[in-house]
Amino acid sequence: MIQTLIIGLRDGFILVPLALGVFISYRLLRVADMTVDGTFVLGGMVTAVLLRDAAGPIVAITAAMLAGAVAGTVTGLLNTRLGVKRILAGILVMTALYSVNSSIVEVWRPSVRPEESLRGVAGQLTELLYGSTDAHQLFGMKFLPEHFMSLLLYAAVAVLAAILLLFFFHTRMGLAVRGAGSNDKAVRALGANVPVLVTVALALANGLAALSGALFVQEFEGIDIKDGIGSIVTGLACVMIGHAVSARMRFSFQLLSAVAGALLYKLLISALVSNEFLSSDVKLYTAIIVLLAMMLPVWLRRGRSGPEVTEV
């Protein structure tokens, strides 16, 4: 039970930056930005290459975020300068990134040196605090303290990212970015440069997706080019689950609900994975859970205001 909780939260915190990135593109810019499928892997690849060359986790994470942000900027420029629709621009950059990531695999053969990664740091901390990495017991339930240390490290990174993002969205530029997605005419009327704001938002979203990839590769000590496929779906699931409880709340809570959504999503998957009977159909149950999360606000609204009239 405790182990399931720890694994769920640890994987959830790895996904928090991705969920925040998808929150920016989906909730602020009103587009499911497919670029994240590519930038998640790109972030992982860049991190793996730098960790192999002993650059250290902080340098690797920073470089990964920058790489992701550059890819997001390209998506933004395709949309704002060349007039390509946002969704299409995302698909184009995602497709191009597949080849870029493939070339990284071919040329640099990314592989993680465990002692250089955050997981390695977690192992060292565990040795220091617990004396060994063996399983421990809490209330009669077994858990691995190394996983708990990893959880704390990823939680620190994810919480820092969320706080910085929250801070950013309360600056002048952040407020303008929030407005650019929902009411660009009003923002333009205030003299702001909407194309720049959209590009900044996409760069930020993809920098965050790359950060998730960077954390992923540090925990799992490797990444495959196909590991990014479905990142947008995962991110959307986290945002949807969070949205189920925060739809009418103020912006800060909505943003934090994406964090909660990521944690809940992975907790549910962890619970499914640890169940021997359900573990082989995780995707089916995940889809059902996401569907329920999407239906919940609709049901709640119906409960309050009677049945909705759907326009056809």
């Binding site: 182990q3 399931t4 694994i7 994987d11 790895i14 597949y98 080849s99 493939s102 695999v105 071919e106 592989s111 465990p114 192992g123 990495t133 399983a135 077994k142 858990f143 691995l144 996983h147 992923f216 925990e219 799992f220 000590e221 490797g222 990444i223 495959d224 080019i225 196909k226 590991d227 479905g230 998957i269 962890s270 994975v273 640890s274 021997e276 573990s279 082989s280 159909d281 995780v282 995707k283």
Partner: protein
């Protein structure tokens, strides 16, 4: 007169001792057997994804354990988990297994092998349905010098055998082609194997890289137009999943097609030289049984699949105008279509 009663009286001591000895012998044997497996082992099988190969390997593994004298529910319990193609789920499954009492991990496919021992848990790892474990550098350098916690059985299909069979049918073949999913480690391994084997047999190889399912038909057509005499399709996940479109292109351009996955013989491949994954599962079970009986994985060398199925599709051969000599047909484990003159 020497009667049966005399015989009984004379040898009564011997006759009394024999059944007692027999009983003692079986009792000791039984005690030995019980001592052999000291506890009930929990075996957790982690699959990256469900495929025909993994199904066969699992079946073979379980029957192999039974053949090794191990009883499910008594000597071992068996749990199988399928990550459905997600790396993060593979790792979550391995993490869950670290504290759920799993005594041995049985990993299928390359993406599950690396994290299973890199995550530094105590349970020994036995792998199968892996083309070449050495593509993961930390797994070891040779069959006997490997990671102390890991052992298993790998495929390593002898591509040269297939090329020799092809040349036996048509010695004039000089140029062969293949599609390669270059992101897949196994594909790169088999590409190198094909290139080496072709070099030894003085064959040229045309390689076309593929990335997406949707582009495979076009890539296959491009390969067929590149002046090749035959397609020898190496095994990887992408081309295995899209094999019918490769077969269609080969048929359209009249290029004979050969491959290494058994079901592809029914999909248009003229000759298939495919690993028998049920057999591989049995081989792996022998290794697992040795660990259960007290041996360490480091003392058990990696094994290679020792049986390959040679399948010939005579209908496809006739359609492509590629005659197969009777002596080769006689070698086949399975023949699809009617043998001429039979």
């Amino acid at each position: 007169m020497y009667t049966f009663a005399h015989f009984l009286r004379r040898y009564r001591a011997v006759l009394a001792v024999v059944p007692v000895a027999v009983l003692l012998f079986f009792a000791c044997n039984k005690a030995d057997e019980e001592q052999e497996v000291k506890k009930r082992w929990k075996l957790t099988m982690v699959k990256y994804d469900e495929m025909q190969q993994t199904e066969h390997a699992e079946e073979g593994f379980l029957s192999g354990l039974r053949e090794a004298g191990l009883r499910e529910g008594v000597d071992f319990e068996f749990v199988t988990r399928n990550a459905q193609g997600e790396a993060m789920t593979v790792n979550s499954m391995l993490d869950a297994a670290a504290v759920d009492g799993t005594d041995m991990l049985v990993t299928l496919q390359t993406p599950t092998l690396e994290p299973s021992f890199k995550r530094r848990y105590k349970a020994p790892v036995v792998f199968m349905v892996v083309a070449n474990p050495f593509v993961i550098s930390s797994v070891g350098a040779s069959d006997s010098a490997h990671h102390p916690k890991v052992t298993g059985v790998y495929t390593n299909t002898p591509i040269e055998t297939m090329l020799r069979y092809i040349l036996q049918c048509r010695p004039s073949i000089r140029r062969i082609g293949t599609l390669v999913a270059k992101e897949e480690m196994n594909a790169i391994f088999y590409r190198e194997q094909l290139l080496d084997a072709a070099r030894r047999l003085n064959l040229e190889v045309e390689v076309v890289n593929v990335q997406f399912r949707t582009s495979v038909p076009l890539d296959a057509a491009r390969l067929c137009q590149s002046g090749i005499d035959a397609i020898v399709q190496i095994e990887d996940n992408l081309t295995s999943a899209t094999f019918p479109s490769i077969a269609r292109a080969a048929k359209d351009y009249g290029i004979p097609l050969f491959s290494f996955v058994d079901r592809q013989a029914d999909q248009g491949s003229i000759m298939v030289y495919a690993p028998d994954y049920r057999r591989a599962g049995r081989q792996t079970a022998v290794q697992a049984a040795r660990i259960i009986r007290g041996e360490k994985p480091e003392d058990i060398p990696f094994g290679r699949i020792d049986k390959f199925d040679f399948i010939i599709n005579l209908d496809a051969a006739r359609e492509a105008g590629f005659p197969i000599p009777p002596e080769l047909v006689a070698k086949a484990d399975r023949v699809i279509g009617k043998v001429e003159g039979a």
